[in-house]
Symmetry: C2
Subunit: 203 residues, 2 copies
């Protein structure tokens, strides 16, 4: 078993944090997106959509999409339950994980891909106006999230889940995406310090 | 229990098809996005992200995000299993559902939102260049999907799943998004006729 990834990219980090929370170690292999290694024939055979990370099982099965990889490990080792506990818990985590993914991580990533000079030629066409359009949306979502976090310790309620992982990775990815974190969001800051101080955050 | 939705929007249709496949009937209530009813105080209280659909349970719990709503019904009534059967089945469906969502539905929707005149003033700013950039990507993904469908009846393999629902809704939404379906993709066409002829497709 191995994970093909790029250490600096946000999606592989989601999987690394998830694995660290589960206490699972999986060997990894690095490819360099700036050198377009994700477009190689060998990697395209593992994931035709040419995205990292990819989990390759011992029988050769290749699983792509970060959340599908995380679900594989949740199925293999259910505890701690990072996709939620019980039927309503799983539904609630699904909702919050998607809110963090579409509302936050995806927008930060679009900003990075469409406005960072290093991504010119990788993201074709690079649409600067679209990159910039995502910046104020990210700030709006963070402000709303701050009010939601007034009533609970973690994103989806009282338990740390995959929704916290997606949100943490999104907030940290704001730096390379050059989006300044707004001040004064005290609940968000308290949550951030909490989840960023977990050993898994170093993964 | 009720679902707040807009009949013509793609995400509410995903939930309607899912429910039709399960044989579950849920009353629905329509809001008009063009009249900005999704920005009303009442609707924002149900979903702060102002998106349809929202499932409101009898105890007042509001569940948003289409896939979270589908998961609620999968948890309530597991058969037929639309999120996959067994651990590896569920992982495989998660991967394919996300490929269809990010690779296809999201791109068709971006094209619609950023190039359709009716969305000017709803999608602010409307970035025409970004809308147009998604058009060739959609065609690329469909061409790849055609090769994948050479070996299997449905998107995720031998069984009809939520991945087929997402893909069908995406393909049908190409019409309002003004993306012409490429000719010659015979496996895709065979799959489309198969899933579009199911009674659930009329939902």
């Amino acid at each position: 078993m191995k994970i093909i990834e790029q250490a600096k990219a946000p999606n592989p980090r989601r999987v690394r944090i998830f694995l660290a929370e589960k206490g699972i170690t999986v060997p990894s292999e690095e490819i360099d997106i700036l050198k377009r290694e994700h477009r190689s024939t060998a990697f395209t055979a593992q994931n035709p959509l040419q995205q990292v990370p990819v989990l390759v099982l011992d029988d050769g099965t290749a699983i792509s999409e970060s959340v599908a990889i995380c679900r594989y490990f949740e199925e293999q080792q259910p505890e701690p339950a990072l996709f939620g506990k019980g039927a309503m818990g799983r539904v609630n985590v699904e909702m919050w994980q998607r809110r963090m993914e579409f509302g936050l991580l995806y927008r930060v990533a679009q900003c990075f891909r469409h406005s960072h000079p290093a991504m010119a030629g990788i993201e074709e066409p690079q649409v600067k106006e679209w990159g910039d359009a995502n910046r104020p949306r990210v700030i709006e979502v963070l402000s709303w999230l701050d009010t939601e976090l007034a009533g609970c310790r973690y994103i989806a309620g009282g338990e740390y889940t995959i929704a916290d992982i997606t949100a943490l990775v999104a907030v940290d990815f704001m730096k390379p995406a050059r989006i300044e974190r707004p001040g004064g969001l005290e609940n968000l800051q308290r949550w951030y310090e909490d989840v960023a101080s977990r050993p898994s955050a170093k993964a």
